[in-house]
């Protein structure tokens, strides 16, 4: 297990390194001269040349990467082209909003998805199973932007019970902050719950068909125990799938946040790309990749702990 964790950490660092190189290259090759962008359209060629030197654009690509990487490690990503604020603080603030939204969404998704999946798995072929499967299929079919927009239409425009956009003002009460969170959180939670229900149904349903379940039943164990035993097998692959979903959410719910103009990482990403605000694009891409990879790393460790084959090696 320790060895597994060590190997996995090494992989994490390597992938992070590769990810940073990819981000760097993407930014380097993006259309639009950063010096030009920095100075605006009125700048003379001479001014641009000076600016290029200042930005280090003349050095070799490896050299530039090393300078850039050193700055990244010092959490110095420069200033936003559009607001002039430090990228690091901009990104961190946005991430705080995203985190807040995701926690609510994940809780909602778990509360909705787990029981639905359990019921569907244990009552295969029943009307409940059919209904839950239909919900899951629909939840996965409807695009998030469509779901979000429809929720806005119904609850913000028609009934006027929820705000259509934004996150409120800083320093507001928890209740009023929650008020702004409900619609985007539900928008995120429904597909999350759909994936979860679907997986629990498949995995638990499959586990219930395994020979060891037959053995447990032949030994007279009560249904509750039999299900609990099967669940201990089904939960391992389910954690992985859940982890991927959580990772995606944390890396930034681009579309949902855009629909609701919610000032999280996702919204920031879209805005910075549209306004070619490269320092911010760098920041969000790096943070998104790092968060996603970290979540997957944690998930792998959890799955490792849940899997006796790996755990046994600790002994």
């Amino acid at each position: 297990m320790w060895r597994f964790a060590l190997v996995r950490s090494g992989q994490l660092l390597l992938t992070l390194l590769l990810a940073s190189i990819a981000v760097f290259l993407v930014i380097q090759h993006a259309p639009g001269d950063p010096a030009q962008v920095q100075l605006g359209l009125t700048a003379t060629p001479a001014q641009i040349a000076v600016e290029r030197q200042k930005l280090g654009l003349d050095a070799s690509i490896l050299h530039r990467y090393l300078i850039w990487a050193t700055q990244v490690l010092h959490l110095n990503l420069g200033k936003s082209f559009t607001t002039g604020l430090p990228v690091t603080s901009t990104v961190v603030t946005a991430f705080g909003y995203t985190l807040r939204l995701d926690v609510v969404a994940i809780v909602l998704g778990l509360v909705l998805g787990l029981p639905l999946g359990l019921v569907a798995a244990l009552r295969r072929g029943s009307w409940a199973d059919t209904a839950i499967s239909a919900f899951a299929a629909l939840g996965l079919s409807v695009p998030v932007f469509a779901l979000g927009t429809l929720l806005v239409l119904v609850f913000a425009v028609h009934f006027r019970v929820m705000p259509a956009a934004g996150a409120g003002v800083p320093g507001q009460s928890l209740l009023s902050a929650l008020h702004f969170l409900w619609l985007p959180a539900v928008t995120l939670a429904i597909p999350f719950a759909a994936v979860l229900a679907r997986y629990v149904r498949i995995e638990l349903g499959e586990a219930m068909g395994e020979p060891y379940v037959l053995t447990a039943r032949s030994l007279g164990l009560p249904r509750r125990t039999v299900i609990a035993n099967a669940w201990r097998n089904a939960v391992i692959p389910t954690i992985t799938v859940m982890g991927i979903q959580v990772g995606r959410l944390l890396a930034g719910a681009l579309i949902t946040e855009t629909v609701f103009s919610y000032p999280g990482i996702g919204y920031l990403t879209v805005q910075s790309i549209q306004s070619l605000d490269y320092p911010v694009v760098e920041g969000v891409l790096l943070l998104g990749a790092a968060v996603f990879l970290l979540v997957m790393f944690v998930v792998d460790l959890v799955v490792g702990l849940a899997n006796p084959r790996l755990r046994v090696q600790v002994r």
Partner: protein, 334 residues
């Protein structure tokens, strides 16, 4: 190896299991077809009855049906089911649940997948012992150690902390046997318990089964395809073909005077292969039948060397030809 050297016909021995006209149907009530077609059998305590047949003969389903464990999509009906002297209202999952693990237990073919891979052996014992015998945690652990010792598993405390994947198939089948016998049931269904094992292990596990039977006195229903194996283990052999019992006899009689053409042909084949002097093997032509498309009359008729026109008319019933020896063939006695 016979468990006990008593007379072949039990006098007043307690009935461990009795089932009449057992039927297992696949698919809907109408339009489905029977996989087990009216099987009746009785197993007494201390006795071993072997249910012998080729793949698809319905022998495993018969075993599963006795515990109410047939797969989804099948339905089970029986004229009568009695376990350990107690009559059951029906052979439904619910009615049998009370008996499973306590009065009737089962050992399966592949020990490598029969145990839960994420629970230790100890956890699996604990669950079973605490539920079936209402033992406390320490008492259950002590009992588990004893049970493992009784099936020849050395170093029981360490084994209890291990997972199934850390053990070999032979070891797991011993453990499975210990679990199945933990509540000292009246009857044990052993479904091809050694088919997945090498013959050297088969001999060990079979000897162990006989030993535990001598100690605990349960009746054993041994489901197998191997005539050689049952010859050394069973008191009575029931031969199944296409979902029905076609011949039933005390083991010695069946091997010395097989009456059904199928049994005769099967035995001839087995003996031919085993005999160093045979030059040409006698083989049964054709393949075992598909249950969905059974011909009318005797199911063996298409492969039978003695088949006559009357064989394709009606399904032959079991008829006694000697004491305890029954055959389902219209030609027998002719």
């Amino acid at each position: 190896m016979r468990a006990v050297t008593e007379p072949a016909t039990p006098v007043g021995a307690a009935t461990a299991l009795a089932v009449e006209r057992l039927r297992v149907t696949l698919g809907p009530r109408t339009g489905g077809h029977d996989l087990v077609r009216g099987v009746s059998l009785t197993v007494h305590r201390h006795r071993t009855v072997a249910l012998v047949g080729e793949s698809g003969s319905g022998k495993t389903l018969t075993g599963l049906a006795l515990l109410g464990l047939t797969p989804p999509g099948t339905s089970v009906a029986a004229g009568r089911l009695q376990i350990g002297g107690e009559e059951l209202a029906s052979c439904s999952d619910a009615d049998l649940a009370r008996f499973r693990g306590r009065r009737i237990a089962m050992v399966f073919q592949n020990p490598m997948v029969a145990m839960n891979p994420v629970l230790t052996i100890g956890q699996q014992f604990l669950q079973v012992l605490r539920h079936n015998l209402a033992l406390s945690r320490p008492a259950a652990r002590a009992r588990a150690r004893d049970l493992l010792g009784a099936v020849g598993v050395a170093d029981a405390p360490r084994r209890l902390d291990q997972y199934p994947f850390e053990m070999s198939g032979g070891m797991l089948q011993r453990i499975m046997l210990a679990l199945a016998l933990s509540a000292e049931p009246d009857v044990l269904v052993a479904d091809e318990p050694t088919t997945a094992l090498d013959t050297t292990l088969q001999a060990q596990v079979m000897a162990l089964l006989a030993e535990r039977q001598a100690q605990l006195g349960m009746g054993v229903l041994l489901v197998s395809h191997d005539l050689g194996l049952v010859a050394g283990m069973a008191d009575e052999v029931d031969v199944m073909y296409a979902g029905r019992i076609v011949e039933r006899a005390p083991t010695a009689d069946l091997f010395s005077a097989p009456a059904h053409p199928y049994t005769q042909a099967l035995l001839r084949t087995v003996r031919d292969i085993a005999s160093p002097t045979t030059t040409v093997l006698s083989a049964i032509p054709g393949a075992p039948p598909q249950l969905a498309t059974l011909p009318a009359g005797c199911s063996f008729a298409p492969r039978c060397p003695l088949a006559a026109p009357e064989c394709t008319v009606a399904l032959p019933e079991l008829r006694a030809v000697a004491a305890g020896h029954e055959v389902a063939c219209v030609r027998v006695g002719q």
